[in-house]
């Protein structure tokens, strides 16, 4: 026993006494001019699986392939659509035809020219039934796709389809001259890609790291940082140690590291810059609307008033998040500034519950209706933040006399045994804050079959109609009105209670310069090709 304590004391002593010893040799402060060169090393928790993004489903793959491939159009820093490979695009009067005009002199990294033929080829691939992609459905709505000339690509839809533009902003264009005789499901190309964007893949060691090098023939111009290396480190604590030891330059950190660990350590504060940006998803409490009493709007509103969202944000995210009032990212045009989350109001919640017929008739602290106590179960998957959120909800609902039980389930069981079968009262889950406002799959009453996404069973004719209208309207201003109206109904009816949208938190070594802060809606990475590493701040790189 003594030995164990001695060992502990010994280790702690070493940890505390030596922590400030290593003095940074770089002078990070001052002004620097942008210059080319240098290597940025980051850490990834998962290894990319396939760099053909239409086939890969993981975020690690898309993070890498986004640096290698281009799309026709993209989202700019304010999350508005902007040109990428296409200079401009036009929409026909009946909104069924979209024509993309490609930039001239586009080139693949191997020198072949990139034309509308490649775009057509990519479209054929993603809609081919043999291609192993989960994302084909958006592109199958295209009735006819044609390459009119090397620089013009035109798609006709059977009926106007507004999310079409979003789908063309996510489809990475693949080279026809390399892939035309390949089986896309089993091709070397997924690990040895040839793209057209800023970087090209130079090295990939399984389970260890992957390196990209600036591509001289990039159609986007040359990026400042000439090499990107991603190391695969599954454990975030190890990532953090590597960051402290100056072996990696940036990583995503958690709220505790962001708000407590780094600010309290001068040596870390000195060399690490912290960035926060609004993440791409929100967490919600969703009800099974087919179960009583959640079919009663007053009950849902009462629960919404009974929950203190700021308390959840402070408790779970240490304040590093925002409440949301619509399923759209705050700061974008789709998010209506006039909508506000339900304030915390216990008395109003109680009043609404009484109106819904709930009273504590036997004075046990739990409300009853028709003799049955108001008790329900919240399900969530193994996610620390969601578990903590559930506990806070449990406590707030006990205040108004609702008894909540919490159950945490492994993801695959959660989806198969509870979500698909509709066997739940309430869930804590997240949805992404989609860039395109269309959320037909999530809220339309036709999307309730097992495996579809309206598993809460939301059914509102007006919302159905708005969603259908929004899908066929390509004019952004008109769409904005439609989706503001939709968000308003959703907020009022509270089929789900928006809890929070957390910030994405990044710690970055100060040798990386040129980062825009505060982050625009698209996040800090939108201009990563403009980031640079001043030569005085570079690591000692081993000469080849």
């Amino acid at each position: 026993m003594y030995i164990r304590y001695l060992l502990l004391v010994f280790l702690l002593f070493n940890v505390t006494s030596c922590s400030d010893k290593k003095v940074s040799i770089y002078n990070y402060e001052g002004t620097f001019n942008s210059e080319k060169g240098g290597t940025l090393i980051d850490a990834m928790s998962g290894e990319p699986s396939n760099l053909i993004s239409m086939i890969a489903g993981d975020s690690a793959s898309s993070a890498i392939s986004g640096n290698i491939f281009n799309k026709l159009i993209k989202y700019d820093k304010n999350l508005e659509l902007a040109p990428e490979l296409a200079d401009k695009w036009t929409i026909s009067g009946d909104q069924k035809t979209i024509t993309f005009y490609l930039k001239k002199n586009l080139q693949w990294a191997d020198g072949h020219s990139l034309t509308s033929d490649d775009v057509l080829f990519t479209w054929k691939l993603v809609t081919d039934d043999k291609t192993r992609t989960p994302y084909g459905s958006d592109y199958k709505l295209v009735d006819k796709a044609e390459a009119l000339d090397p620089f013009t690509f035109r798609v006709n839809y059977k009926k106007a389809y507004a999310p079409a533009l979003d789908s063309w902003a996510s489809l990475q264009i693949l080279p026809k001259h390399i892939l035309k005789d390949e089986d896309i499901n089993h091709t070397f190309f997924s690990r040895k890609p040839t793209g057209s964007s800023y970087y090209k893949l130079t090295q990939w060691i399984n389970g260890e790291k992957l390196s990209l090098e600036a591509s001289p023939s990039s159609v986007m111009g040359e990026p400042n940082i000439s090499q990107l290396t991603s190391r695969f480190i599954p454990d975030t604590s190890s990532q953090f140690l590597e960051l402290i030891a100056d072996n990696i330059d940036l990583m995503n950190i958690n709220p505790i590291q962001f708000a407590r660990v780094i600010p309290s350590r001068p040596d870390l504060k000195n060399k690490l810059a912290l960035y926060k940006e609004l993440g791409n998803s929100y967490t919600y409490l969703g009800f099974n609307l087919k179960h009583s009493p959640f079919n009663d709007i007053k009950v849902r509103q009462a629960i919404n008033y009974a929950l203190d969202k700021q308390e959840v944000i402070d408790g779970v995210l240490l304040g590093l998040g925002e409440p949301v009032a619509s399923p759209y990212k705050p700061g974008t045009r789709w998010s209506d500034k006039n909508l506000h989350p339900y304030p915390y109001d216990k008395n109003l919640a109680l009043k609404l519950l009484h109106e819904a017929g709930f009273n504590d008739s036997n004075h046990d602290g739990i409300l009853e209706k028709d003799g049955k106590p108001f008790t329900f179960e919240i399900l969530t998957n193994q996610n620390k933040q969601r578990e903590m959120t559930a506990v806070l909800i449990q406590r707030r609902l006990k205040d108004v006399g609702i008894d909540v039980k919490i159950r945490v389930i492994e993801w695959a069981s959660f989806v198969n045994q509870f979500i698909k079968t509709g066997d739940f009262d309430a869930v804590i889950l997240g949805w992404s804050l989609s860039l395109d406002p269309d959320q037909y799959n999530i809220w339309h009453s036709s999307q309730q079959k097992p495996g579809q996404f309206n598993f809460i069973g939301y059914n509102n004719k007006e919302v159905d109609q708005l969603l259908e209208e929004g899908r066929t309207e390509l004019n952004p201003d008109k769409r904005e009105k439609i989706y503001h109206a939709f968000s308003k109904i959703l907020l009022n009816e509270s089929p789900v209670i928006y809890l929070y949208a957390g910030y994405g938190l990044t710690a970055m070594n100060k040798r990386i310069k040129g980062i825009e802060s505060p982050a625009p809606p698209a996040g800090i990475a939108y201009n990563s090709y403009e980031w640079f590493i001043p030569s005085t701040l570079r690591r000692n790189e081993i000469a080849p």
Partner: protein, 339 residues
Amino acid sequence: MLNYLIKRLLWMIPMLIGISLISFFIMHLAPGDITASESAFNPKASEESRQKLRALYNLDKPLMTQYSLWLKRIVKLDFGNSFASHQRPVLWETKDAKGNVSKGMIQDALPITLMINLIGLLVIFALSIFLGVVSAVNQNRWPDRLITIIVFVGFAIPGFWLALLLMYWTGVTHSWLPISGLHSAGYEKMSHIAQYVDLFKHLILPVSISSLGGLASISLYVRNGMLDILQQDFITTARAKGLPENKVIYGHALRNTLLPLITIIGLSIPGLIGGSVIGESIFAISGMGKLFFDAVLMRDFPVVMGILTIGSVLTLFGNLIADIGYAWADPRIRRGISN
């Protein structure tokens, strides 16, 4: 002896089929499949395309059909391809028509795990035998007590916690050792000797952490075995005829103590291909533990079955080798088998 061997080998066939059958069905009892984990909650991925993928992988067929399809491939030693989107071969590399090589997943992970476990096993046995002998010779005196405490603390301490502390201490505060991974940044450009030194430095922490837990059982085993032997008559005889104490202990007692260890070595053969998920994650080493764990979470059935099959073959062979080794070392057992 030969008869015995043939009998044992033939017995393995039904055993293997039984093991694979049970693991196959248990694995499919777990809810969900690859399509659920890959794109379950992405509204852009439709249910129809998931059905399409299920059909592509034969996941829509009855379990028995799926099993017989798998069995048919496995008898030809074809472990198939992963369900993950990279579709890499499970076991060994394949070449496409243009000569592009796609490396096998087990082929990548196994050497790393084997290397760490073999070194670990060596360290464990060498240290344990040493500690066990010192303990036994000094029974109930301070070296014995100290060693017992140390090996038990090592056994009880949570590996991941100690690993992180050691990583911090040796990697961040002192920069003595690298923190994670197996190779430094410029590994490819180093000379051969520098590469070995680099690898050695990267292995110190993972191997120490993985051996720490194994010390307790084997050193105690050696200690108790040694104590038993030291009380036997032939040791008294050896001492009586005036042999130096060193010779008594290392020449006579230790050799007899080591006999049962052969069984333990045989039984640890299947363990050699299994890695620790936590250890591998913390040290960012992509070995078998992480491979298996991720495959289970993803419901990547070909990979799970591949690793289980290799594991069970090795377990059966490990048992056989343990028995044979024992017979080779101990004439009493050898005679028993022949009869």
